[in-house]
């Protein structure tokens, strides 16, 4: 296998691993917060339903965490196995957040074990809730540290290269790159948003499939509210991300927006297709790109004409970008309508078709996460470390990457099927009505 093939298969394998891992990772970052909120509301309102909600989410969460842990281990090792040249350089400059991530994860793992096995151990429910805080913090900090590494790949700093040698290394500066604030904020808020919508989707599905229990309605309202809050936050952060890109990675923004010529008062292209270098059927919003990039309708936005041919990312990232933004907007609108509709007691929010839309929102949010990461990664090409190391120079020289690709594809298939079977069985076998009845009986037993 020539090196070109090694590069190709390394890219495919990394893409596959990340695409699979990110589903479980996103849920793993977001769900602890949801459990915390539900349990807290339950304690505050003395409402058994919310406590049970937290408990049932926890059970499902453990399964997704397990897959997240093992695929996370896989990507952690694959970085060194597939991109040894990159990791040698990265190890020198950006190893600190990678190292701290293991601590955050360690912390999370320990307290998750404790939280899971102490559900009825404490008289005071609040003490049990306290144990969840380190889980949520650990999960979110894992995401923060890893995203810092990704931010570094987009806007490397904290070192100089003199005669091919790395000098003046500053690990802290490397962590706090210009890309870091928007990237970290975006990853966190979309993780919370996606987790909320995935849980809402499950609640809506149960309501559609015959159960009319108030438990599911409470779950739905809670998650849609949280989803709404974080989707608004995501939109605000998205605006800042645009400004970051315009300043530090103009080629990524220009490729995503099909902005070919540098100009003032640039319009924003929505949708459309690219035909022989010409944009067709796009919705053109005048001045919008200048506003997105610089908060000024007349500002100049750098176009692709400023970059050499071989430093321009693939133009199909426009579709990924549009997909991500469209789903984000759609979910914001959907959750807003749901929350307002419920407040004003409008009947259509309980209608079948509307609930199906909420059900659809779960998978859609996951698709948006995938599209977002593909956009982020493909949009950085041809660089693995922007301006410093090209992807093709980073890959392994090993000839067996194609075999490993098959091996891991098989693994992910098994894990996907396994986790889906286990999760559906877990909740189908023990529906909430039955669990509530069981708990009622248990209590009576204790009183007697």
């Amino acid at each position: 296998m020539g090196n070109e093939e090694s590069v190709f298969f390394s890219r495919v394998l990394t893409e596959l691993t990340l695409s699979f891992h990110i589903i479980y990772a996103t849920i793993g970052v977001g769900i602890p917060l949801m459990i915390m909120i539900a349990q807290w509301v339950g304690i505050k309102k003395q409402d058994e339903h919310y406590i049970l909600l937290a408990r049932r989410w926890t059970r499902g969460f453990v399964i997704t965490v397990a897959v997240g842990v093992v695929t996370g281990t896989a990507i952690g090792l694959q970085l060194s196995l597939l991109w040894p040249n990159f990791m040698e350089l990265a190890g020198n400059v950006i190893a600190l957040p990678l190292f701290m991530e293991t601590f955050a994860f360690f912390f999370e793992a320990i307290f998750l074990g404790i939280y899971l096995y102490t559900w009825d151990r404490f008289e005071n429910q609040k003490k049990h809730l306290l144990l969840l805080i380190p889980v949520a913090i650990g999960a979110s900090f894992s995401a923060i540290f890893i995203t810092m590494v990704n931010a570094f790949m987009n806007a490397p700093q904290g070192f100089d290269i003199v005669n091919g040698q790395l000098v003046n290394i500053n690990p802290v500066l490397a962590m706090f790159t210009p890309a870091m604030p928007t990237k970290v904020a975006h990853v966190l808020s979309t993780a919370y948003m996606t987790s909320a919508f995935v849980l809402a989707s499950i609640g809506a599905y149960r309501l559609l499939k015959g159960s009319n229990h108030i438990y599911h309605k409470k779950a739905l309202m809670l998650t849609m509210k949280i989803g709404l809050i974080f989707s608004i936050a995501t939109a605000v952060i998205g605006d800042f991300s645009g400004k970051y890109l315009a300043e530090y990675q103009p080629e990524k923004l220009a490729a995503a927006e099909w902005h070919f010529e540098t100009e003032e008062g640039a319009p924003l292209m929505l949708y459309g297709v690219l035909d022989d270098g010409e944009v067709k059927y796009a919705i053109k919003i005048p001045y919008a790109l200048s506003i997105l990039a610089h908060s000024n309708p007349n500002a100049e936005v750098i176009g692709l004409d400023q970059f050499p041919e071989d430093e321009i990312p693939p133009l199909y990232i426009h579709y990924l970008f549009d997909l991500m933004v469209t789903i984000g907007m759609w979910m914001t609108a959907l959750s807003l309508i749901y929350v307002l509709g419920t407040w004003f007691k409008m009947r259509f929010v309980a209608a079948k078709w509307f609930r199906w839309l909420i059900v659809l929102g779960g998978p859609l949010s996951i698709i948006a996460i995938e599209a977002g990461w593909w956009f982020a990664e493909v949009g950085r090409q041809p660089w693995i470390l922007r301006g410093i190391m090209r992807t093709e120079d980073a890959a392994t020289s090993s000839g067996q990457v194609d075999l490993m690709l098959l091996l891991f594809a098989g693994l992910y298939l098994v894990l996907a099927i396994g986790s889906i079977i286990v999760l559906t069985r877990m909740f189908r076998k023990n529906p909430v009505e039955q669990e509530l009845a069981d708990r009622e009986l248990e209590k009576e037993g204790e009183l007697r």
């Binding site: 926890t58 059970r59 897959v67 952690g76 196995l81 601590f103 559900w119 067996q400 286990v422």
Partner: protein, 341 residues
């Protein structure tokens, strides 16, 4: 102490932690499967499940910590080992992944099938075997540096007696460590039949473990004379290790102080593991890479050390809490409490 030595000592300590915790885990899975096979499942399964449940995730982290840490402290290892280990490490990861997730699936998801119990048990032997290959490769003689890059010579590797001795050692050590620990744990749970059975396993595996360990030292004399002579300089450490081993076996034999027995066993492996590590110094990979030319820059090293100390300050109390709530909690160990979500 130089930063290089501090770095490698910390990493080696975590790898040691992984060896112990993972051995208990792997061995437990194997004994669980074996007892099912022999129809003695009712004796062991409860004790094993109760120990494994709250800690399985923690085990994995020790390993992640080690490989992330080594790339941080010694970035050149990413190039050397990253290139060579693509296939063996990928296989180990796949096995670990299947094992970890199916543990969660069966324990929390109620997916209970005999097939999985067997697969789970066997994977616990394959994983240490595949991971131990890394130690073999580090001894040198299996890697050649060509213009196209580094290449691992699989044929030499898999026909070398050293490879197979290390594989056998990893398996016997896993079973021995695990059996001694579980004997203690079962005894704490006042579970007499389980204690007796596990005690028997511990005694059975004690001899093979020590014999294979000695065998490897002999193998090294031919394979890597330089390393062998450095090992011989540390003969007294191996002597201490052997005395600790004898102490463990004596206590288990006499059915006394199982806790102390496990303590001695930890000491035995600790001393031997570090004696091996010290004698391996300064090489990370014979003869290409030493800890000095593979080391990161000073700024990163200091940052990592600070992060490490801060992280430890956070971890040690949490680990203590975990142990106090489960391992050292009488009610939990004896199965009077479950409280699972």
């Amino acid at each position: 102490m130089t930063l290089e030595i501090l770095g490698i000592s910390v990493l080696w300590l975590f790898l040691f932690g992984y060896v112990i915790v993972a051995s208990i885990d792997f061995g437990a899975g194997f004994f669980n499967a074996y007892s099912l096979f022999r129809g003695k499942h009712h004796i062991l399964t409860r004790i094993i499940q109760r120990y494994l449940s709250p800690v399985w995730e923690v085990t994995n982290v020790f390993l992640v910590f080690f490989f992330v840490g080594i790339v941080g402290f010694f970035p050149k290892t990413a190039y050397y080992y990253g290139t060579i280990l693509l296939v063996p490490a990928s296989i180990a990861v796949v096995l670990l992944a299947i094992r970890g997730s199916y543990y969660a699936f069966t324990t929390y998801g109620g997916l209970r099938q005999k097939r999985w119990t067997y697969l789970y048990g066997l994977s616990g032997l394959f994983i240490p075997a595949s991971l131990s290959i890394v130690l073999t490769i580090s001894e040198g003689g299996f890697v050649s540096e060509r213009s196209a890059g580094l290449e691992l010579d699989y044929w030499t590797l898999f026909t070398s007696p050293l490879t197979w001795s290390i594989v056998v050692l990893s398996i016997t050590a896993v079973l021995y460590i695990s059996a001694v620990f579980l004997t203690w744990y079962a005894n704490k749970a006042n579970d007499e039949p389980a204690t007796e059975l596990l005690r028997k396993y511990a005694l059975i595996w004690a001899l093979p473990a020590i014999v294979t360990a000695t065998g490897i030292i002999v193998e090294l004399r031919d394979h890597n004379p330089e390393h062998f002579s450095r090992l011989m300089d540390l003969w007294w450490l191996f002597g201490i290790s052997f005395i600790l081993f004898a102490g463990t076996v004596y206590l288990i034999w006499k059915r006394r102080y199982y806790g102390l027995a496990f303590g001695l066993l930890t000491g035995q492996f600790f001393v031997a593991f570090f004696a091996y590590g010290i004698s391996h110094y300064p090489y990370l990979l014979y003869p290409y890479l030493t800890i000095y030319d593979g080391f990161t820059n000073e700024a990163m090293a200091i940052a990592l050390v600070i992060a490490f100390i801060a992280g430890l300050g956070l971890l040690l109390p949490s680990l203590y809490l975990l142990l106090r709530l489960f391992l050292f909690n009488k009610d939990y160990v004896q199965g009077k409490r479950d409280d699972h979500a």
